[in-house]
Amino acid sequence: MSKQVTFRIWRTDANGGGKFVDYPTEVSEGMVVLDVVHKIQAEQANDLACRWNCKAGKCGSCSAEINGMPKLMCMTRLDQIPLDKPVTIEPMRSFPRLRDLATDVSWNFRVKTKIKKFNPRKPDASDGSWRMAQADVDRVQEFRKCIECFLCQDVCHVLRDHHKHDEFIGPRFLVYTAALEMHPLDTEDRLPELKQACGVGFCNITKCCTKVCPESISITDNAIIPLKERVVDDFFDPLGWLWKKLRPKT
């Protein structure tokens, strides 16, 4: 059941510009977009640049925009997209372009280093281990499913349209911060920086990040909104503020 389909792929040129190039390609049953890119790479354009690793939706390397939708190429089956007109594949738009489908995502790695690291309480047992109930770690485990594909960063309008990369850490790192803040063993306080450096207030809950998350993490509802609530409780609740001032210091 193989047939010919045209793939319209963004190719950069030597001057830093670029254009879409059409690649008519034979496709067959069960293929995903990444298979097509590999086929074109092997047969028509040896130098076509793209990132990939696991080919199973576990590493988050092959993020791209397919017909304008941020997706993992390895998990996008051809039978889920219309093939009667050219399929466009282009790099993520929120990050500087490197070559073809590869973008410069280094900003994400820099952002992470600025968030205070995990700081556990003393171990509960002499062998250095802790006791935690499964129910108490479920939420954190949801956040730790993140594969760092950065599709949420790509689709977030605060980054994509308003370029607030210096003031806002984006959904990925709000999820990361939430995982630390809600970790039953963690003792660190990240609320002041959440309000300031992380810019949690920039998020206006349009939930685009949640929609594109390939791991189906409820980014907005489970991570961002609770963080916003904690910040509000800590900084803007007058009674709470008064209590903190007046309570006896231990």
Binding site: K58, L98, S106, M132
Partner: protein, 604 residues
């Protein structure tokens, strides 16, 4: 002469999967300056694909477990050609390494009393694998990554190493390029740790990503290091086989650990048909006992689906050859059947195996809570690798260390599932510790300009071959096909001899491939340079497999189908001779410590 950008470190770690990250963290903690080089972005290494868990005898689920049982299991699984010292250290140190991950933020699944939960896996006598659903590798690599970025390690992402630099006999750094721009870089280092993982890309059907091209094994070999046990490749019994584009993708052994069974097209549970003597006393006699084991009955024995991977893979091939296979040439792996046993089976499956559920749903439109999966063997893991000292992970080349999959010894002829992630953290730590110690005791070496010039000439050659008949992908494709067909799961003398001839021709073609365009992020160029590594390791596999005239673990010879007790006394070692040709010897296995012998006797 050369004005390449240059970096200076005490310890340079090449590879940022579990072993490389753990080594870098340890070296850094020892107070030396550490550089970490990786081919992909940080956190994307193949470790991320590990699913089932990491083996550590913590005894959280069954308190009869301890390091002795784990040691005996590892040796039995490896069919006694393991580096027994590594198996001992691994069994003793794994629990502490797992607890350390928890201290760095890892969140494992929990037992009812709040401890780290442990699951059943093939060849492990007791439930032993600490895990997070079926995404344990992600948890491991992310924990190490998030801890490591605060340790003052300099990370060079998307860099490829072309060659190790030498000063006399000693390794004193590495030479490579950044993939983004293709600019050459010099890394001077007092000690180098290789942690580059495996070589599955030498085969057509594999669980490995593009990175698994045997770089570290080949770099070490060309720098004079010895390789061991290269004939022992693990073919994981359960890879996806349909649709064709996902062929080879890993289906975790945890499916079987959590109750999944193997059936042929007649619906027969064929694993009960052939149980090796070594495992008879530990294996269930009927499906009922097997199920009780899965449900945690301490008096029940393991179902035969949890026999070692080498054996399960061969049983699957047997069924397929006998015409009892599935429509696409595999067999059926069925977890949906447990709905007969528990009313909430679909929820149980989705909770225990979320990414498997997801993977089959999205890639094969198959609901594993309702239907059986079609699976078949896939190239998964290199048991052999760079020959190292068990305590220090030092190679025979001064200044060069190796850890994780690219180092050989721990797993012998067959690795138990779950022993890989624990290998990474136990021996990654040791490699980092002893590399740092070496770096403190030695001064920097002197880089040889001639070597740099030769390496850069070699690396750029593919751009200058005008009028070449082919690009790198065709050669890679043909090599993968040949290794799959001639040096795969079932091996024969004459086929492997043909493979050696085939390798000669492929070397010839590889030396002629041309690449187009420029050096910036050019996958064609990268693939052309990978060919050298793939061909080197393929030759090592083939020569070692030809020499071992018996069947043991991952190495199965149709012309020598039995185990030879004499062949249990040596490891196959290969190295590069002075004339450039590959040399081979049978290295006697040192006498095992008396205490360990006794452990093995007791556990029989």
């Amino acid at each position: 002469m050369t004005n390449y950008e240059s970096f200076e470190y005490d310890v340079l770690v090449i590879g940022a999967g579990g072993a490389g990250l753990r080594a870098a963290i340890e070296a850094s903690a020892a107070g030396v300056k550490v550089g970490l080089v990786c081919k992909s972005l940080l956190g994307k290494a193949h470790t991320v694909m590990a699913e089932g868990g990491m083996a550590a005898a913590m005894g959280n689920v069954d308190d009869r477990d301890n390091w002795r049982v784990h040691f005996a299991d590892t040796m039995r699984g490896g069919q006694y050609v393991n580096n027994w010292r590594m198996a001992e250290l691994h069994a003793k140190e794994a629990p502490a390494r797992v607890h350390e991950l928890e201290a760095w933020g890892a969140v494992f699944d929990r037992t009812p009393d709040g401890k780290i939960l442990q699951r059943n896996f093939g060849g492990h006598k007791y439930p032993r694998l600490a895990h997070v659903g079926d995404r344990t590798g992600l948890e491991l690599i992310r924990t190490l990554q998030d801890h490591g970025i605060h340790q003052g390690i300099t990370v060079h992402m998307e860099y490829t190493i072309v060659t190790l630099l030498k000063d006399g006999d000693r390794v004193i750094g590495a030479f490579g390029y950044d993939r983004e721009r293709g600019r050459f870089k010099i890394f001077r280092a007092k000690a180098v740790v290789l942690a580059t993982g495996g070589l599955g890309r030498a085969y057509r059907i594999t669980t490995n990503s593009w990175e698994g091209t045997g770089d570290g094994v080949s770099l070490a070999y060309h720098a004079g290091a010895e390789l061991r046990d290269m004939e022992f490749i693990q073919f994981h019994p359960t890879g996806m086989i349909w649709p064709p584009s996902v062929r080879g993708l890993l289906v975790t052994e945890a499916v079987r650990g959590d109750g999944g069974i193997l059936k042929n097209k007649e619906g027969r549970r064929f694993m009960f048909d052939d149980i090796p003597d070594l495992y008879k006393s530990q294996t269930a006699t009927d499906p009922e006992e097997g199920w009780r084991y899965v449900m945690g009955d301490k008096n029940a024995r393991r179902p035969p689906e949890l026999l070692t991977r080498d054996h399960v893979a061969r049983c699957i091939l047997r069924e397929v050859k006998a015409g009892r296979g599935s429509p696409h040439g595999g067999v059926f792996l069925d977890i949906a059947w447990i709905k007969e046993k528990m009313p909430s089976a679909p929820e149980y499956i989705k909770r225990k195996l979320p990414s498997m559920y997801h993977q089959f749903m999205q890639l094969a439109s198959l609901d594993i809570t309702r239907e059986p999966m079609e699976i078949g063997p896939t190239t998964h893991y290199l048991m052999g690798g760079i020959r190292v000292d068990g305590d220090t992970q030092a190679t025979n080349i001064p200044g060069l260390f190796a850890a994780g999959e690219c180092a050989g010894g721990l797993h012998g002829a067959n690795r138990l599932g779950g022993n890989s992630l624990s290998d990474l953290i136990v021996f990654g730590k040791r490699a980092g510790e002893f590399a740092a110690k070496y770096a403190k005791e030695n001064s920097a070496g002197k880089v040889n300009d001639a070597q740099l010039e030769e390496a850069s000439r070699y690396a750029l050659e593919p751009f200058e071959r005008e009028g070449s008949p082919e690009g790198p992908y065709q050669v890679q494709h043909d090599l993968q096909g040949m290794m799959q067909d001639l040096v795969g799961i079932v091996r024969r003398q004459e086929e492997m001899a043909r493979a050696l001839d085939g390798l000669k021709q492929l070397w010839g073609r590889a030396n002629k491939v041309a690449v187009a365009s420029n050096r910036e992020y050019n996958p064609g160029w990268h693939t052309a340079l990978d060919l050298n590594h793939l061909l080197t390791v393929s030759e090592a596999i083939t020569r070692s497999a030809l020499d071992r005239k018996e069947s043991r673990g991952g190495h199965f010879r149709e012309d020598f189908p039995k185990k030879d007790p004499e062949a249990q006394k040596y490891n196959t070692v290969v190295w590069q001779g002075k004339d450039g040709a590959m040399q081979l010897r049978r290295e006697p296995i040192p006498e095992m410590a008396a205490e360990l012998k006794q452990v093995i006797e007791e556990m029989k």
